[in-house]
């Protein structure tokens, strides 16, 4: 599983405060700890509080890369904010751009912009694309898969290899009225998206969104992560500092025969 550490996000109060006060230590500590916990990428999201989103993105990128070389996952729905992050970033380790829908009412070409930026980095520039279009977030399985198919086609046309694409079938909070069918739908969609191409694209979810507003957040997150992993999910934006979550993931991967068993498999998973 490719784990993307979620903690450097302006939605978290400690990060929001650090951004407001330009307190590098808080950001750098989070970058370091997430890296030590095995994050393959560090998500970087400025949140909504900062007035200057582009400047804040660049500051976050520079701040993180002063202390660690973990590849970044620049997280914004606005191409100009991603571009500002890209300009500031050392991309020699690779970079992930997170994320674009297939298209938007206000911007039919949005995915092209993300693809162009990913290509500008070279072969290690990758993108996350959401199964979402100008009509919004689909609730059913078929529309999710249909949008994913269009994304895959577009990415192929652009000449990117499939390992550079991460399809996100969009996890919604389970607590929202009538949303309880969604986890099932997402798992069903994942099971179909893996057959859209060979090799298939990566499939990623923003896991914590599932338990937004719920009690038992960590438990909900880790059970769903294991369920989805068994259907082909191979990347996730998660709280890598959540030990029971990482233990559950290591165990799921071992049971799915993706990691060799050894008595110390939990330790081996973290060290890998």
């Amino acid at each position: 599983m490719i784990s993307i550490g979620e903690r450097i996000n302006g939605m978290f109060l400690d990060v929001k405060k650090a951004i407001a006060e330009k307190d590098k230590a808080v950001i750098q500590d989070l970058a370091k700890r997430q890296t030590e916990c095995g994050a393959s990428y560090l998500d970087v999201n400025v949140g909504t509080a900062a007035a200057d989103q582009e400047g804040t993105m660049a500051w976050l990128v520079e701040t993180i890369q002063e202390t660690c070389k973990t590849p970044l996952c620049l997280d914004s729905q606005k191409p100009n904010v991603i571009a500002a992050g890209l300009k500031a970033a050392d991309t020699s380790m690779g970079i992930l751009l997170n994320s674009s829908p297939l298209n938007k009412k206000s911007d039919a070409e949005v995915l092209d912009k993300y693809l162009e930026m990913a290509q500008s980095v070279g072969p290690e520039g990758k993108i996350i694309a959401l199964t979402m279009d100008k009509n919004g977030v689909p609730q059913d399985v078929d529309t999710r898969v249909a949008i994913a198919a269009q994304i895959v086609e577009k990415v192929m046309e652009a000449g990117l290899e499939m390992h550079r694409l991460f399809v996100d079938p969009i996890v919604l909070p389970v607590k929202v009225p009538d949303a309880q069918q969604q986890p099932n739908n997402i798992i069903a969609a994942i099971g179909q998206i893996v057959f859209l191409s060979d090799p298939p694209p990566h499939i990623v979810v923003g896991l914590s969104n599932l338990s937004q507003g719920s009690c038992e957040r960590s438990l909900i997150n880790r059970i769903f992560l294991c369920m989805a992993a068994s259907h082909g999910l191979d990347a996730a934006i998660i709280d890598v500092l959540d030990e029971p979550l990482v233990d559950a993931l290591a165990t799921a991967e071992m049971l799915l025969n993706k990691q060799l068993y050894s008595d110390s498999y939990l330790k081996a998973y973290r060290n890998a």
């Binding site: 050894s262 110390s264 081996a268 060290n271």
Partner: protein, 316 residues
């Protein structure tokens, strides 16, 4: 219609391990050997991803063996009991890339010799040959823990490959390999899960993963080679999949296992000449295991050495 590109690429690679140290590197070896580096399974994908060529280590025993078949013993009788001359013969006449010095004589059932003997042997062999050395214990944990640290110390600076450590007995030899800067062999009994576990255990002691060579135990042709093959293959696939705890080069013990088989050692004229059967059994076992993805092959008979060397030359 264009031919589709089917070569797979993987994210993991077998680590490269160098054995031996020349004068500039603080040792007295005239050559060093580097193994590993493969980025693919054997014979698949681009030739450039095969990694280093596999190498041959010829067994030299610290005492004269009593149970070797005549077809094998006849090749070394003149040097039995003189490990230095034996090693020199294996290098000069038979073309060994390394010498695997096996300390059988320290085993309680096979002489129970002490540290003085073992240290003298290692010093003599180091003086006699310039190739890198593998230092292999007797298999008796208590005795190996007592004697092998002295052997290690006597070879300090030579960057030897020393072993073996197991899941139940790894602490003293790992510590001494770390202290004397030797490379280390981790052993598992044809069990891939234990193979991974012992690597984790030694790395927990601070021993670098990139200095390890794995020994998954060897079965000869007709005597469990399928198990060896599938475990070696499983290790390589885990390596390529990015499992850092399994991404080491490996060693196989073909010589002693092939010569334990009745096909190699029996005096049965109806099976063909004894002087051909043993070397054939060794060479066939080695060549099969080479295809599963292994890096260092322990051999005994000079004809087997010549055949396998030629195979490696032709195929890599």
């Amino acid at each position: 219609m264009p031919v589709p590109r089917v070569a797979d690429t993987f994210k993991g690679a077998v680590s490269r391990v160098t054995i031996g140290a020349t004068a500039e590197q603080g040792g007295t070896r005239t050559t060093t050997v580097t193994v590993g580096g493969a980025l693919n399974v054997v014979y698949a994908g681009e030739p450039g991803k095969l990694g280093e060529k596999p190498v041959i280590a010829v067994d030299v025993l610290d005492i004269a063996p009593e149970d070797w078949a005549e077809a094998l013993a006849g090749q070394y009788k003149d040097v039995f009991g003189d490990p230095a001359a034996w090693a020199k013969k294996a290098v000069d006449e038979y073309g060994a890339d390394l010498i695997c010095l096996k300390f059988d004589g320290i085993h309680p059932d096979r002489g129970d010799l002490g540290a003085d003997h073992a240290v003298r042997v290692i010093k003599d062999v180091l003086a006699a040959v310039g190739v890198p050395l593998i230092l292999w214990g007797s298999g008796n944990d208590a005795k190996d823990n007592q004697i092998m640290p002295k052997v290690s110390e006597a070879a300090k600076g030579q960057n030897c490959l020393i072993g073996t450590v197991t899941e139940d007995n790894y602490k003293s030899l790992t510590a001494i390999a770390l202290a004397d800067s030797h490379k280390l062999i981790t052993e598992a009994p044809l069990d891939i899960n234990i193979g991974k576990q012992v690597n984790i255990l030694v790395s927990d002691m601070g021993y670098p993963l990139e200095n390890i060579v794995t020994f998954q135990s060897t079965g000869a042709l007709g005597y469990g080679i399928e198990y060896s093959y599938s475990i070696q293959e499983r290790q390589r696939l885990a390596t390529l999949g990015g499992d850092k705890m399994m991404a080491m080069p490996s060693i196989v013990d073909v010589g002693s296992e092939a010569w334990r088989t009745k096909e190699a050692k029996s005096d049965a004229p109806e099976w063909g000449p004894a002087e051909a059967r043993g070397p054939m059994w060794e060479a066939a076992t080695a060549i099969v295991l080479l295809q599963s993805g292994t890096d260092i092959i322990r051999l005994r008979h000079p004809k087997a050495v010549a055949t396998v060397k030629n195979f490696i030359k032709e195929m890599w």
